[in-house]
Symmetry: C2
Subunit: 129 residues, 2 copies
DNA sequence: AAAATAACGCAACATTGTTGCAAATACAAA
DNA sequence: TTTGTATTTGCAACAATGTTGCGTTATTTT
């Protein structure tokens, strides 16, 4: 197993994501970092944070990739880490928030092996009404 | 209201999507068309087909945008057209299929106005097992 | 047939994401 | 503290995807 190191970039990016109530895009992280590190480094740090289960990736209805913290996921079960909670994508402010307490139920179709799910609702968030 | 015309490109693209059991990406459509029209035209035709409710857009877990036909959506209710059915995204063959008969249920959170949903399950499809 | 308008092709550009490689650095061990 | 080494970084270059402007072509209406 490859050892992973703590660097300024990683610390700052994780802090940003953890302190944000909404999921952040790569572009948003980059401009928030204000030139702290290279564009490419951000991609690589995000990749690392995902494999370390510190962060998860969400895609909104338009296909924009965003990153959110995993503070809702208990650390004890990180080895079976999944992100099977719903997300909300606001059509107005384009923000993505985690809806932790909504657990959708559905009938599993035969012959399909389900490993992950992406359940994103979109519309207008409380702030934009 | 802007008038819309039937062109060779539009006819062929719609035929492709309607005859495909899986959702198609822009790249897949382009190579299937074999140079019938320009890359940009495909984007514009797809846009048109979406506003005409002939086609809908799906995004898989990796953020790849695909297009699927709307034959499952009854034409009478096109003015209240939504695509609230689930999709399945195979991790192996990367194909997206519509799971028409799965209607997920969930508790609607307060203060959120929900207009659309994207419910994508991913894993291994019957063909890849 | 002429006028109006929708669709197209092309070129140019923007954004997002990836890869290779040499230089910088974090961190454990001496 | 210094040293050794694997990890991380920056840079440059590239690929894929999507958008826009504009002059030309095609379709529809009158």
């Amino acid at each position: 197993m490859k050892q992973t190191r703590n660097t300024a970039a990683k610390t700052e990016i994780l802090k940003l994501i953890n302190h944000s109530p909404v999921a952040l895009s790569h572009a948003e992280i980059q401009s928030a970092l204000n030139g702290l590190c290279d564009r490419v480094t951000i991609y690589r740090v995000l990749e690392r944070l995902i494999t370390e289960d510190e962060v998860h990736k969400v895609v909104n209805l338009e296909g924009v990739v965003k990153y959110a913290s995993c503070h809702s996921c208990s650390s004890e079960e990180k080895h079976i880490h999944t992100h099977n909670h719903a997300h909300f994508s606001c059509e107005k402010c384009k923000e993505i928030t985690c809806l932790e307490d909504i657990e959708p139920s559905f009938k599993v179709p035969k012959n399909y092996q389900i490993n992950e799910m992406n359940f994103t609702l979109s519309g207008i968030c409380p702030n934009c009404r």
